[in-house]
Symmetry: C2
């Protein structure tokens, strides 16, 4: 192989995948079915349809179809920012003086600033196809809300976003981006839903949580004619849409005959990680190849490394289906960790099952070391990474430094899910040496896990 | 020509220009020489060298060499974010229902968020080559300071940024990006320079200005061993470095046999506009082609459309050389216009001369109509544009709508210089219907122009 590897491997537009890949089709141990919270029985498409768009409900429950055609309208939208580059981190390698080859798939090159747009446009498309008026959702850090606002604006759909109150107040710029794209943004808990009123009554002055915002968004969708609820992570449909990340990554590597040794992704709800690793995990499941796949989570919210694999609620209000997943308990409140998108108490049931089956491994990292990696990366690679993405950078750097010890020229691939432009408050804390590294105690986790629902 | 034009025309890395183009070499009427403020005689390389790096001083005064090789280290850095895409705005065309073909050269795909990095890395490189310890500069909106911080971090140079005090306070996130890249950021006017102390004394409580920050940065450079001053716009060397924008644009158009009819750029100091149009203006100057080139400036700071073509000071402290340019007078204070990068009182002497010779035309646009265009663009093209860039979008949309009237299928090319992530305060004002459209009166301009220095 003599082709010189460029800094950025771009696929041509015609090389962009035309199908999403559903890794569940290749899993012998399928993820456990999601359960109707009222009956504790597996939900049907019919039961999901009042909440989700029909086609998305079908995708959610389909664990046998391997490939789903990407509709042309979605592919056209993708072309505005896809194929995204797979970047060879030449400058980082040089700085670390490592024999390892480091690659990152950069998903921050669109205004939402993250990979979330891949699924947002798909979900908005199916809502439009179904003739809906609009969709509702929640957002914490704001990446998902921004992505959905953009997608809805493109398809001329109404977009109601319940934004965790503390973010609404502390991240006014995120809010304004969504408003610029035409979204209606409400701080949660609000007085516009029954569950919001109830929470405001029970906990006066609360600044909200993701689980609570989910409950409000679901209520807003189901109580309104022509609206459905959409979600940016955790769900299997989201992982399906996000598989485009992994498919492009694999195509770009193949183009230059590069065989990845390690694939590293940050893990919150699992949308990026699941999408990035899907085709690689698929090869492992089919016995065609072997990779070391690492999920990286914050030590402050360690669902894989310290959670329990059990059925749990996905939201605080307990209106959503139950999923079997690695969870810290739906009542778990992560500490003030600034990697907003990685604060979810649970984990995608697909990722959970792959982890339980040993296809992927997991590590947790502290916040200060994450920001150190972020700064090191930014200084040589130019891109200011999102705190979430920087969890993967931390482990990629650690692994590259191990290669320096051993002399191995491993091919390390990680997902750079987004940019940190709206996370400067966290960077400021880091710059000021004022970052917290809180890790939950065993007692805290036990307490939170004791609230798991009894299923079976 | 049957090649289908993709959404994004990417050049391959090996197609990236290896030389910058100096449009002055093809100008029959050369820009007037810059003058030593002490002698009012044209400055020499020797006189400039205490302020600028030597090679940059040479580039500044060279109006005959057409091509300058881009050093390999700079090309390697460029590869992290270049070649930048030339995007066919299919979605905007469809939304406007215009027969025109609209293309934009997107320079916001790097952490500095703008084209400024193209010159920052060049200036940092030459400083490093000369064995300097560091560089000083000023920043207003913060794009240039961010770009320079990144460049200095890459070459391990000290970076002292004087940031206009009002921006330092109102744009803390910009400041933190610079700090993350290791820059030392000081609010200007400060008490760290003589000129800063003097201005603070004369105008207690002042929130600063770009002209004042320039004076402080120059003093900081010249009063320190091993430091030089660098500047992100106006200078001819900056236009030289920025010519890579135009060269890539032309190469991408040529690749698909597209002949531009109009080329539109926003104009503050002229760095983006000059870089974008250089190769096209060169063809016009050599009689090889004809284009309609339009500089777009804010109605609140209309140096081309309402200024005077005369020698003027480049800074408030009058320590910099004098340049002959379209100017509103160095004492001109633009109103609270949020398009921060377009608030400079003067204009690049190259752009000024090309304008005076009729090679380019100019228009001014109001702020509200600029943000309307920005929002319209963002909604369909996905990218949230910087307010500066949105001046060009406004005119591109206006021209595309004219084509709708006439039925012409013009090829309209504009420069999308950057993203608006750090301009959400301005977007918020727009979203709230609270944007100001102040235009200076004739009397104000007369007053400001009456302070022009007497030269000749």
């Amino acid at each position: 192989m003599n082709k010189e590897i460029p800094y950025k491997i771009y696929l041509e537009e015609h090389e962009m995948p035309k199908e999403w890949y559903n890794v569940r089709a290749d899993m012998k141990n399928k993820p456990a079915p999601i359960l109707n919270p009222a009956t504790l029985k597996p939900v049907t498409v019919e039961e999901l349809s009042p909440v989700f768009c029909e086609e998305l409900a079908r995708q959610e429950l389909d664990d046998t179809t391997a490939l789903f055609e990407i509709p042309k309208d979605i592919r056209d939208f993708y072309k505005m920012y896809r194929p995204s580059p797979l970047v060879r981190a030449y400058c980082l390698e040089k700085k670390l003086d490592t024999p390892a080859h480091i690659y990152y798939k950069f998903e921050g090159n669109n205004t939402s600033g993250s990979h979330k747009l891949n699924s947002a446009i798909a979900q908005a498309y199916y809502a439009k196809q179904q003739g809906l008026k609009g969709v509702t959702t929640e957002t914490g850090a704001g990446q998902w809300g921004t992505a959905l606002s953009m997608a809805c604006s493109y398809f001329d759909l109404d977009c109601l976003v319940y934004m965790v109150k503390v973010s609404y107040e502390q991240k006014p710029f995120r809010r304004e981006v969504m408003r610029t794209y035409g979204a209606n943004v409400t701080p949660s808990p609000s007085m516009t839903t029954e569950i919001g009123k109830k929470i405001n009554e029970e906990f006066p002055g609360t600044t909200g949580s993701l689980g609570c915002a989910i409950s409000e968004a679901v209520e807003a969708a189901t109580s309104r004619e022509g609206y459905r609820y959409v979600l940016g992570s955790v769900l299997s449909q989201v992982l399906l849409h996000q598989s485009i990340i992994g498919l492009e990554t694999k195509a770009a590597l193949d183009k230059y005959d590069i065989k990845a040794d390690m694939i590293i992704g940050c893990a919150g709800g699992g949308s990026n990680l699941g999408g990035l690793i899907s085709p690689f995990a698929g090869e492992m499941l089919r016995g065609e190849a072997d990779y070391e796949i690492v999920a990286v989570e914050p030590a402050s919210c360690p669902s894989l490394t310290r959670g329990r694999y059990a059925y749990d609620f996905c939201d605080t209000g307990k209106v959503c289906p139950l999923a079997k997943m690695y969870t810290l308990g739906s009542g778990f409140m992560p500490s003030a960790n600034h990697a907003g998108g990685l604060r979810y108490h649970g984990m995608s049931s697909v990722v959970s099952q792959l982890y339980d089956d040993g296809i992927i491994s997991a590590r947790s990292v502290g916040q200060t070391e994450v920001f150190e990696a972020a700064q090191q990366f930014a200084k040589v690679e130019g891109i200011l990474p999102a705190p979430e993405s920087s969890h993967a950078i931390r482990v990629a750097i650690d692994e590259a430094l191990k290669c320096k010890e051993t002399g191995e020229a491993k091919n390390i691939v990680f997902g750079l899910t987004g940019t940190g432009y709206f996370d400067m408050v966290a960077y400021q804390k880091f710059n000021d040496g004022d970052m917290s590294d809180y890790i939950p105690t065993d007692e805290e986790l036990e307490r939170s896990l004791s609230t798991l629902p009894k299923v079976e």
